[in-house]
C-alpha cells in the first residue's frame, strides 16, 4: 500500500509531504529529489526503486507527484490513484501549478486525509467529496444533513447523492479516441491501435437508471442470430471488436458479464463511463508519404505528402506534421502548398501546421536541408515523422446505438431527456518511418 505521497515543484522543493506509514523515513523525500528530479540522466521510467523503496511519479506541467511505498504494490493501482488525485485537485482549484498548490495546501492535506486511509485509496469521486470537503464555510448544516452525508458516503451508491433536481434533464456523451500508428516508409502498417474513452456529463434528476448501447460486435452478433440474415449482414459490417475495456465503478459489472449490457446509475456531473481499446479495422485518417534523398554529405532533400482518408464532408483540424532534421543541420528552406511550415532548431524538426483539411484531399511539403560536415562518423538515425490532428469521427468505428434513461420515481421519461453525442478522434503516437 502507498506509504506516503509527496508533491514537488520543478526545482525539487517539497510542496506537500504526507506520510501514511512508518516504514517511510524522512529521507525518502530527499532520495526522490536527488535520484529522480536532480538526476544527471533524465529519468524516463515512472517507477524508480531507491534503496528498496519504490517511487511512482507523474508529472503535471512543472509539478511532480510521487507516491512512495516499501511494499510490493499494484503499480497500476498507484498510478490510477495519482491520476485520480490530479483530477480531484483540478476539480477543486483548477490547473495544477505551484501557485495553486501553495494557495490550497490546507485543502490538499484535507483531501489526502480523505482519499487515502493508511495508504489504502478511498472514495475519490469529486462529486461525493465536494459534499463534505468544501472550500467555503457551511452554515446551518443540520444534524439530519450530516447524517445523510455519512449514510450516503458509506452506502451502496457512494458516487451519487439523493435528491438531485434539475429543471432540464440533460445528458452529454463524448466518444474520445486517440489513434496510434507506426507505418513503414512503404506504407505498410507495422502497428496500430485505438484507445478510446466514453466521457459523460449528466444533469439528471433523482436516481435514474441508464442503459448504454453501442455497436459492440458480440452484442450485434447475438441479436443478429435472432433477426433476419439480411439484418445480421448489414449490422455485422458496422460492428466493432473491442479488445478490452474498463468501466466506471457505477456500471453493474454482473450485468455486463451476463448480458453484456452496460447499465448504471450515473454520478452527477462529469465522469468517464468507460475506456476501451481496439486493434482491428481501424480507419487511419491520414496517410503520410515521405521521400528523403541525401545529396552528397552536405545536403538533404525531403518531400512529404499527406493524404486525408475520410468522408469529404468532414473536416480535420489542428493538423501538425513534425519532420525531424539531422543533428548537424545548418540551414533549412521549406516550401509548402498549404498551411505554415517552420524549422524549429530547438526541437531539431520542421513543424508544418495546417488549420483545416477536408477529407479525400492531399497536400505536400518539400524542404532542402543543409548540413554541416562533422568529424563524427555516426549516421543519422532517421527518426520517424510524427503527426497530430483532430477529426470529428471515431477512428475505431464505434457508434452509440442508444442511451436510455429510466427514472421510475420521478415523472420524466426517456423522451424528456435531452441527449448530446459527439465523436472526437485525435492522434496518439502517429508515426511514419522515413
Amino acid at each position: 500500500m502507498i506509504g506516503g505521497l509527496f508533491i514537488y515543484n520543478h526545482k525539487g522543493e517539497v510542496l506537500i509531504s504526507r506520510v501514511y506509514r512508518d516504514d517511510i523515513g524522512r529521507n525518502a523525500v530527499d532520495a526522490f529529489r536527488v535520484n529522480v528530479i536532480h538526476a544527471r540522466q533524465q529519468v524516463r521510467s515512472p517507477v524508480t526503486n531507491i534503496a528498496r523503496t519504490s517511487f511512482f511519479h507523474v508529472k503535471r506541467s512543472n509539478i511532480w507527484l510521487a507516491a512512495v511505498t516499501k511494499q510490493n504494490v499494484n503499480a497500476a493501482m498507484v498510478f490510477e490513484f495519482l491520476y485520480k488525485m490530479c483530477d480531484v485537485m483540478t476539480a477543486y482549484f483548477g490547473k495544477i501549478s505551484e501557485e495553486n498548490i501553495k494557495n490550497n495546501f490546507v485543502l490538499i492535506y484535507e483531501l489526502l486525509d480523505e482519499i487515502l486511509d493508511f495508504g489504502y485509496p478511498q472514495n475519490s469521486e469529486t462529486g461525493a467529496l465536494k459534499t463534505f470537503i468544501t472550500q467555503q464555510g457551511i452554515k446551518g448544516q443540520t444534524k439530519e444533513e450530516q447524517s445523510q452525508i455519512t449514510s450516503q458516503v458509506t452506502g451502496q451508491i457512494g458516487w451519487r447523492r439523493e435528491g438531485i433536481k434539475y429543471r432540464r434533464n440533460e445528458l452529454f456523451l463524448d466518444v474520445l479516441e486517440s489513434v496510434n500508428l507506426l507505418m513503414s516508409p512503404q506504407g505498410q502498417v507495422l502497428s496500430a491501435h485505438v484507445s478510446g474513452r466514453v466521457v459523460m456529463k449528466s444533469y439528471l434528476s433523482g436516481m435514474p437508471e441508464c442503459k448504454f448501447g453501442m455497436n459492440d460486435k458480440i452484442v450485434i452478433d447475438k441479436q443478429g442470430k435472432g433477426g433476419t440474415t439480411d439484418d445480421a449482414g448489414k449490422s455485422g459490417k458496422q460492428s466493432i471488436a473491442i479488445d478490452d475495456c474498463t468501466f466506471h465503478q457505477c456500471v453493474r459489472l454482473s450485468k455486463f458479464d451476463s448480458e453484456r449490457s452496460i447499465s448504471f446509475i450515473p454520478p452527477d456531473g462529469e465522469y468517464e463511463l468507460m475506456r476501451y481499446r481496439t486493434t482491428k479495422d481501424i480507419i487511419l485518417p491520414f496517410r503520410v508519404i515521405p521521400l528523403v534523398r541525401e545529396v552528397g554529405r552536405t545536403k538533404l532533400e525531403v518531400k512529404v505528402v499527406i493524404k486525408s482518408n475520410f468522408k469529404p464532408s468532414l473536416l480535420a483540424q489542428k493538423i501538425e506534421v513534425r519532420i525531424p532534421t539531422p543533428l548537424n543541420t545548418s540551414g533549412v528552406q521549406v516550401i509548402c502548398m498549404k498551411g505554415k511550415a517552420k524549422y524549429k532548431a530547438s526541437e531539431n524538426a520542421i513543424v508544418w501546421k495546417i488549420k483545416r483539411m477536408a477529407g479525400m484531399k492531399e497536400s505536400q511539403i518539400s524542404a532542402e536541408i543543409e548540413l554541416l560536415p562533422t568529424n563524427d562518423k555516426k549516421k543519422w538515425a532517421r527518426p520517424p515523422i510524427s503527426m497530430n490532428f483532430e477529426v470529428p469521427f471515431a477512428p475505431s468505428g464505434l457508434k452509440v446505438r442508444y442511451l436510455k434513461v429510466f427514472e421510475s420515481k420521478l415523472n420524466y421519461s426517456d423522451h424528456d431527456v435531452i441527449k448530446w453525442v459527439r465523436y472526437i478522434g485525435r492522434s496518439g503516437i502517429y508515426e511514419t518511418r522515413c
Binding site: 520543478h10 548537424n328 545548418s330 540551414g331 532548431a345 562533422t374 568529424n375 555516426k378
Partner: protein, 980 residues
C-alpha cells in the same frame, strides 16, 4: 600574462549561460541548447568568414555545452583556426577547446601539432606557455612522440624565460609519466640537474619534480643531484624567513621546495662525501631545532608548512637509518607530537614512529612512549589514529614489554572498531607467539582471544595454537585443562570448539585422571556443542571422537552409538557421512593395537615461518602506507615464500589421503588417520573431485603430485614434511614474454617424472601429463582457471628455438580460446624426437584476464632422457660396453654435493623415472647404482650407461655417464646432477 580586458568579455556567451541557468526544467535546457547549436552551425556554415572574436565566442559556447554533458561533433576546425590567431585570448580558447575535446586519433592532430610547433618556436613566452600547457593537458602518446625531443631543448636553453622553463619542466614530467620510453634525457641529463642551481625558485621547484621522477627510474644518471640538492637545501634552511620574498609562506622559507628536496634525497643512500654529509646532517639538525622554536605565527598555515618539512626530514632520517643521534632526536620530537591536540599530527607521529621502531638505534627511544601510545589506543576518537596506535604497539613490542602490550591490546579488542578487529587479532596472535617465554601464557592469550573476538579469529590463528601445543610437551596438559574449562561456558565460539575438539582429542588423556574431567564428561561436553557447529567443525569433532575411542576404550560404546545414529551415518553431507561410516567401521573392526597405531598422537609439526604472519602481510598489503619501498619488496617476498611453503605441504597430504574428498577438511582426515584410511575404497566423494584431480585418480594415482583443488590449499593443518621439490614455485605472471626465470628449475623438476604441476600462479595452473614411446611422445597440458572470471583469447604457441627445430618436431593441437572461471581445458602436444637435443621447447601463453593481457613463457619439460628405452644386461656385458665407450669425449663426469637426503629408495625411484634400466648386482659395490638405456631418436639410437656413486659420509655423489655420442653424455650429466 596579459589581463583580460573588458572588451574581451563575451556578451553572447554570458547571455547564453544565464539563459541556461534560468531554464526551469531539463527539457527547456535541451531546447535552448539545440537552438544555440543550430545557430552556431549556421554561423560556421555561413559563406562569409567569421572574425576572430565571434569564432572565439562560438567555440566557447560549444565548450560550455560540452561541459554540460552534451555531445559536440563539430567546431574542431574553428578551434584549430583560433590557434593561429595572434591574440592571447583567442589562442587561449583554442587551446582550451583542444585540450578538452580533441581526441588523439582525430584527423586534425597534424594541424594542431603544427600550430603547437609554431608557438613553441615563437619568441613569445605566453604563447610558448600555452602550447606547453596544451601538450601537458592532452598528454597523449602522440603528443609525446611529436614533442618529447623538443621540450628538453626549451627547458635547458639559456635564453628561455623562467616561466616557460617551469612549464617545460612540468610538461616533460607529464609526458614522462605517460610514456617513459619516449622521453630520453641522454645528453640533457647534466644540464637538467643543474637547474637545481637556477636562481629562480619556481624553476627549481618545477625541475625538482621532474628530477625526482626521472631519478627513480635511473638513479645512477642523476647521482650528481644529491650534492646540489643538499647545498640548495642548506641555503633554504639557513636563510632568514624574509630572504626568499615570494617563496616565503607564512614565515617558512620555500616549504614546498624543501619538502621536494628532502623527498628527492630519499631516493638515494646517504651521501658518501663527508662534507656533503656533514652539511646535510647540519640541515636536518637545523630543521629539528626549528621545530623547537616558538611559532612565528599563530596561523595554522605556518605550523602546517613547518611540520610538513619536519616530517619529510624525519622520513629522510629514517630512510638513512645511520645517524643514531638524529634518530633519537626525531623520536623525541615525534613523542611531543603524540600529545599534540591536532589529530592529524598525532596520526603522522604514530605513523612515523612505526617505522622508527624498526630501526635498531631508535627502538629503545620509541619504547619510552609506550604509555602514551596505549593511552592513544584507548582514548583516540578517530579510528584511523587508533589503528596507527595499534600498529605502533605492534612495532615496538619486544620480549620486555610483550606481556603488557598483549594484555592492553586484548583488553582494547573488546571495544575495538569492527574494521580493525581482524588485524588486531592477528597481531595479538603473532606477538603472543613471537615473544612467548611461557607457553601456558601463550595458550591463555589465544584462548582469550578466541573468546573475546571469535568471529575475527581466522583459521590460521587456531591452526597455529594447535601446532604449538603439539610441538611443546610442556603445555599440552595445561592446554587440555584450559580448553576444557573454556568449553564449559554456555556459549562458545566455534573456533573455540575447534581448538577444544582437537586438543581434547589429542591430549584429553592428560586430564582424564580428574573425575571432574573424566573421559565421558569430556565427550559429553564436546558433543553438546556438536549440533551448533558448521560442517567442517563437525567433521573435526568426529575425528576427535574416534581419537577418544583410542584414548579411552570405556567411551567406545557411547561414541559408536553417536556415530551410528542416523544424523551421522546418513548425514546429507558427504564428508560427515564418510567420516561417520569409516570411523564406525574402524572402531568396530580394528583391534586395539591397530587402532592405537592408526590413531597415534600427531607427530610434531616442522618449524617454519608462521602462517599468521603471512596472513597479516597479505591483509596489510594494499592498504599499508609504506614509506620505504625496500621494505615492501621484502614483505612481498615473504608472502610468496609463505604461500609456496603452504602449498608444498598440501601435496603430501593429498597423496596420503587418496584425493578422494577435496573438501576443506579432507586433509585433516588424511593427516590424522594416515595411510591406513587410504586403503578404503574411493567413496562417492569422487563426485566432488574436480576434473583435474579426477584425472589423477583414474590414472592409478600417477598424478599424485598434482596440486589439490584450490579450496583445500589454505588449510594449515595439512603441513606434512614440506617436500620443497614438489612445491611449485609461485610465480607472478608478468608481461614479459621471455621465459620465467625459474623455468629451468621447472624443467629439472620433470626430468624424473612425467606428470605434475608445471606452473601455478594466482590466475592459472598448468598441469602436465605425458607419455613416451620410442622416439615419440604425447603430452597433455591442463590449463586450469583459478579465478572466477573467464579468460578470453586464450592462445598457446609452442616453439622450438634455434637448432632445436631440426632436432625435435613438436605439434600442438589448438586449444579453446575461452576458459570459464574455475574451468579447465586440455591441450594435446605430439612430440617426435628427430635427433638428440639440449634445449627445451618454449611454451608461450597469452590470455586476457579482466581486460589485462597476460603473457607468459615456460619451457616444456621435454628432455632427452624421455626417449630412453631401458636395456637389461648382465654384469660382464655392462663392463664390456663401459670399456668400449672409453674415449674421453664419450664420458661425462660430475662430482656434486647432495641436495636431498641420500635415501636409497628415493634414488632408485628417481633413476627409474629417468627411463633407464636400473641394473642390480652389477657393480661390485652394492652402494653404487648402475643403469643402462638406449635413447631413441628418429635419426639414430644412442646407447648410454650410467654410474652413480654416493658417498654417504661426505654427502657427495659422483656421477659418470658414457654414451656413444658426446653431446648426449654431457646433457644427461647436466640434467641428472640437479636431481640428487
Amino acid at each position: 600574462m596579459p589581463a583580460v580586458s573588458k572588451g574581451d568579455g563575451m556578451r553572447g556567451l554570458a547571455v547564453f549561460i544565464s539563459d541556461i541557468r534560468n531554464c526551469k526544467s531539463k527539457e527547456a535546457e535541451i531546447k535552448r541548447i539545440n537552438k544555440e547549436l543550430a545557430n552556431i552551425r549556421s554561423k560556421f556554415k555561413g559563406d562569409k568568414a567569421l572574425d576572430g572574436y565571434s569564432k572565439k565566442k562560438y567555440v566557447c559556447k560549444l565548450l560550455f555545452i560540452f561541459l554540460l554533458g552534451h555531445d559536440i561533433d563539430f567546431g574542431h576546425m574553428e578551434a584549430v583556426n583560433l590557434l593561429s590567431s595572434n591574440k592571447y585570448t583567442e589562442k587561449q580558447i583554442g587551446y582550451l577547446f583542444i585540450s578538452v575535446l580533441v581526441n588523439s586519433n582525430s584527423e586534425l592532430i597534424r594541424l594542431i601539432n603544427n600550430a603547437i610547433k609554431n608557438d613553441l618556436s615563437s619568441r613569445n613566452p605566453t604563447f610558448m606557455c600555452l602550447a606547453l600547457h596544451c601538450i601537458a593537458n592532452v598528454g597523449s602518446r602522440e603528443m609525446a612522440e611529436a614533442f618529447a625531443g623538443e621540450i628538453p631543448r626549451i627547458l635547458v636553453a639559456g635564453d628561455t624565460m623562467d616561466s616557460v622553463k617551469q612549464s617545460a619542466a612540468l610538461c616533460l614530467l607529464r609526458l614522462y609519466k605517460t610514456s617513459p620510453d619516449l622521453v630520453l634525457m641522454g645528453e640533457w641529463t647534466s644540464r637538467v640537474v643543474h637547474l637545481l642551481n637556477d636562481q629562480h625558485m619556481g624553476v627549481v621547484t618545477a625541475a625538482i619534480s621532474l628530477i625526482t621522477c626521472l631519478s627513480q627510474k635511473n638513479p645512477d644518471e642523476f647521482k650528481t643531484c644529491v650534492s646540489l640538492a643538499v647545498s640548495r637545501l642548506s641555503r633554504i634552511v639557513s636563510s632568514a624567513s624574509t630572504d626568499l620574498q615570494d617563496y616565503t609562506y607564512y614565515f617558512v622559507p620555500a616549504p614546498w621546495l624543501s619538502c621536494k628536496l628532502l623527498r628527492l634525497l630519499q631516493c638515494y643512500p646517504p651521501p658518501e662525501d663527508g662534507a656533503v654529509k656533514g652539511r646535510l646532517v647540519e640541515c636536518l639538525e637545523t630543521i629539528l631545532n626549528k621545530a623547537q622554536e616558538p611559532p612565528k605565527s599563530k596561523k595554522v598555515q605556518h605550523s602546517n608548512a613547518k611540520n610538513a618539512i619536519l616530517f619529510e626530514a624525519i622520513s629522510l632520517i629514517i630512510h638513512y637509518d645511520s645517524e643514531p643521534n638524529l634518530l633519537v632526536r626525531a623520536c623525541n620530537q615525534l613523542g611531543q607530537f603524540l600529545q599534540h591536540r591536532e589529530t592529524n599530527l598525532r596520526y603522522l607521529a604514530l605513523e612515523s614512529m612505526c617505522t622508527l621502531a624498526s630501526s635498531e638505534f631508535s627502538h629503545e627511544a620509541v619504547k619510552t612512549h609506550i604509555e602514551t601510545v596505549i593511552n592513544a589506543l584507548k582514548t583516540e576518537r578517530d579510528v584511523s589514529v587508533r589503528q596507527r596506535a595499534a600498529d605502533l604497539l605492534y612495532a615496538m613490542c619486544d620480549r620486555s614489554n610483550a606481556k603488557q602490550i598483549v594484555a592492553e591490546m586484548l583488553s582494547y579488542l573488546e571495544t575495538a572498531d569492527y574494521s580493525i578487529r581482524e588485524e588486531m587479532v592477528l597481531k595479538v596472535a603473532i606477538l603472543a607467539e613471537k615473544y612467548a617465554v611461557d607457553y601456558s601464557w601463550y595458550v591463555d592469550t589465544i584462548l582469550n582471544l578466541i573468546r573475546i573476538a571469535g568471529d575475527y579469529v581466522s583459521e590460521e590463528v587456531w591452526y597455529r595454537v594447535i601446532q604449538i601445543v603439539i610441538n611443546r610437551d610442556d603445555v599440552q596438559g595445561y592446554a587440555a585443562k584450559t580448553v576444557f574449562e573454556a568449553l564449559q561456558a554456555p556459549a562458545c565460539h566455534e573456533n573455540m570448539v575447534k581448538v577444544g575438539g582437537y586438543i581434547l582429542g589429542e591430549f584429553g588423556n592428560l586430564i582424564a585422571g580428574d573425575p571432574r574431567s573424566s573421559p565421558l564428561v569430556q565427550f559429553n561436553l564436546l558433543h553438546s556443542k556438536f549440533h551448533l557447529c558448521s560442517v567442517p567443525t563437525r567433521a573435526l569433532l568426529l575425528s576427535a571422537y574416534i581419537k577418544f575411542i583410542n584414548l579411552f576404550p570405556e567411551t567406545k560404546s557411547t561414541i559408536q552409538e553417536v556415530l551410528r545414529s542416523d544424523s551421522q551415518i546418513r548425514n546429507s553431507d558427504v564428508e560427515l557421512q564418510q567420516r561417520a561410516v569409516e570411523y564406525l567401521k574402524l572402531s568396530s573392526i580394528a583391534s586395539t593395537d591397530v587402532l592405537a597405531t592408526v590413531l597415534e598422537e600427531m607427530p610434531p609439526f616442522p618449524e617454519r615461518e608462521s602462517s599468521i604472519l603471512a596472513k597479516l602481510k597479505k591483509k596489510k598489503g594494499p592498504g599499508a602506507v609504506s614509506v620505504n619501498e625496500l621494505e615492501e619488496g621484502k614483505r612481498e617476498g615473504g608472502e610468496l615464500n609463505g604461500g609456496g611453503g603452504e602449498r608444498g605441504g598440501d601435496n603430501s597430504t593429498i597423496a596420503a589421503s587418496n584425493a578422494s574428498t577435496p573438501s576443506p577438511s579432507a586433509d585433516l582426515l588424511g593427516l590424522r588417520t594416515g595411510p591406513q584410511v587410504s586403503a578404503a575404497p574411493p567413496s562417492a566423494g569422487s563426485l566432488l573431485v574436480d576434473v583435474f584431480s579426477e584425472a589423477g585418480v583414474n590414472d592409478d594415482g600417477f598424478l599424485r603430485d598434482l596440486e589439490p583443488p584450490t579450496e583445500s590449499s589454505d588449510s594449515l593443518l595439512a603441513e606434512g614434511p614440506g617436500d620443497s621439490d614438489s612445491a611449485p614455485p609461485s610465480a607472478v605472471s608478468e608481461d614479459a614474454a621471455p621465459p620465467l626465470p625459474e623455468s629451468n628449475e621447472l624443467l629439472n623438476k620433470f626430468v624424473c617424472k612425467n606428470n605434475g604441476v608445471l606452473f601455478e600462479n594466482q590466475l592459472l595452473q598448468i598441469g602436465i601429463k605425458s607419455e613416451y614411446r620410442q622416439n615419440l611422445g604425447r603430452m597433455y597440458l591442463f590449463y586450469g582457471n583459478k579465478t572466477s572470471v573467464q579468460f578470453v583469447t586464450f592462445t598457446t604457441t609452442v616453439s622450438c628455438p634455434g637448432e632445436l627445430q631440426s632436432q625435435l618436431n613438436v605439434q600442438a593441437k589448438p586449444v579453446e580460446p575461452l576458459i570459464e572461471g574455475g574451468a579447465q581445458v586440455q591441450q594435446v602436444i605430439n612430440i617426435e624426437c628427430l635427433g638428440d637435443f639440449c634445449e627445451a621447447p618454449l611454451l608461450n601463453i597469452k590470455f586476457r584476464y579482466g581486460g589485462a593481457l597476460q603473457n607468459l613463457s615456460l619451457k616444456l619439460p621435454v628432455t632427452i632422457n624421455k626417449f630412453f628405452q631401458p636395456t637389461e644386461m648382465a654384469s660382464h656385458d655392462f663392463f664390456q660396453r663401459w670399456k668400449q665407450l672409453s674415449q674421453p669425449q664419450q664420458e661425462a663426469q660430475k662430482i656434486f654435493k647432495a641436495s636431498h637426503a641420500m635415501d636409497t629408495e628415493v634414488i632408485k625411484a628417481k633413476l627409474l623415472g629417468l627411463g633407464m634400466a636400473l641394473l642390480e648386482n652389477v657393480d661390485p659395490n652394492p652402494e653404487n647404482f648402475v643403469c643402462a638405456g638406449v635413447i631413441q631418436t628418429k635419426a639414430q639410437q644412442v646407447g648410454s650407461l650410467l654410474r652413480l656413486e654416493p658417498n654417504a659420509q661426505a654427502q657427495m655423489y659422483r656421477l659418470t655417464l658414457r654414451s656413444s655420442k658426446d653431446t648426449v653424455s654431457k646433457r644427461l650429466c647436466e640434467l641428472l646432477a640437479e636431481q640428487f
